[in-house]
Symmetry: C2
Subunit: 232 residues, 2 copies
């Protein structure tokens, strides 16, 4: 099976959580919108079919079209062996993923607190207020939570990597880019998260992916944006 | 099995999506924090156990503790027959639920765009800006999406009710409370959503629940708040 991922072609964004899972599994996939006429294909596919997505990313897997990052990962977790099989651990992995999704949404809203349609430059003052709370209370609260979930284990579920580990790696990478000062503090307090980050980054397929041109750079077009005035 | 739901005792909030599923299924459950010493039990349970939740609601189901609304509903959907069994329809139901969760988060942020910790009164100007976009573009976009998903069917999955229908009912109820003008416009454009709302409200167990003291009222403490200045 060749998976088809539909996501914006120039940013990591929410699509990156899916890319990391596909890469770790060594799955065959096409990043559709990055091909020729890809944006046209993306926009056409977005509104088509019985199960349209509200927004990218979405994944075509044979006859299925699956939207929402956590839902895509739930599916891939099962089919690509990136999640535990037992019910309790499977549910827990998904719970962690949904909590990561909440953190990602909050990270986005630091630079767009008032309007997703307007420019950052038009909501800089409000962004500064929102980011202050994010940096001071939200990042530490989320990082403490994930460190507690990780405990002394290699991965969130113990010895075996899951899609939630890949996503936690990506969130740490994104927050390091966007809020380097705040993340340095958080990781100093929770060194287990740094170890998790390194462990994921060194997995052979992830390391190869990160070094490849398939890995897009972070930028001020994505979810994690580095505006120095928001980082304290 | 008697389920134990842990959620804030005085608001519908995110817990209501779980309550509606338990009620529709006729499940035996305790709304823990609404009992004597309930808040103490809630706070103690929140940080306890191997699988703690980042925030309420969470559900105890035998030996399992499950956090995140969509995750709880995924579990209850399977165990209480509130979701289709086939993979494609099961995934689609969860996708709709996660999209509803996005809408709920956006509805919350209309009155708290800058800080979740601060009062609405301290961010009224920013709330007015954020709500303007929510009312003008986001509500119509979400409502059009769900109406398209519903099409001419009785329920989102066809003939049988699922947890996503109950959640869509709750979102419509909440938006009607918070943004009556905007919702009247949206429902006029998408009468299928009004029919879905009525169909859910008239299900015997839901009707009995809505008429009971178990159903808390909407208020300006919850997610859906009626501030007339935000509704256009």
């Amino acid at each position: 099976m060749v998976y088809q991922l539909y996501y914006w072609p120039t940013i990591q964004g929410r699509g990156e959580f899916v890319r990391l899972a596909l890469e770790e599994a060594g799955a065959a996939y096409v990043d559709v919108a990055r091909g020729e006429h890809g944006m046209k294909e993306l926009m056409a596919a977005l509104a088509a079919g019985d199960h349209p997505s509200f927004a990218p990313p979405f994944l075509k897997a044979g006859a299925l079209t699956i939207g929402q990052v956590a839902n895509i990962l739930l599916y891939l977790g099962e089919h690509l062996h990136l999640a535990p099989r037992g019910e309790a651990a499977r549910i827990w992995t998904h719970q962690l993923q949904l909590t990561i999704a909440d953190l990602v949404a909050e990270a986005h809203d630091t630079h767009h607190p008032v309007s997703s349609d307007a420019y950052y430059e038009d909501q800089k003052l409000e962004a500064k207020q929102r980011a202050a709370e994010f940096v001071k209370t939200r990042i530490p609260k989320f990082m403490d939570y994930f460190a507690k979930a990780l405990a002394d284990n290699d991965y969130l579920n113990g010895a075996h990597v899951s899609y939630a580990d890949l996503s936690l790696f990506q969130v740490i990478a994104g927050l390091r880019y966007a809020f380097p000062k705040a993340l340095a503090r958080a990781e100093k307090k929770q060194p287990a998260l740094t170890r998790l980050f390194d462990r994921v980054a060194q997995r052979p397929r992830i390391a190869a992916y990160l070094a490849s041109p398939r890995r897009l750079p972070f930028s001020e077009e994505g979810i994690f944006r580095h505006y120095p005035e928001l980082d304290h």
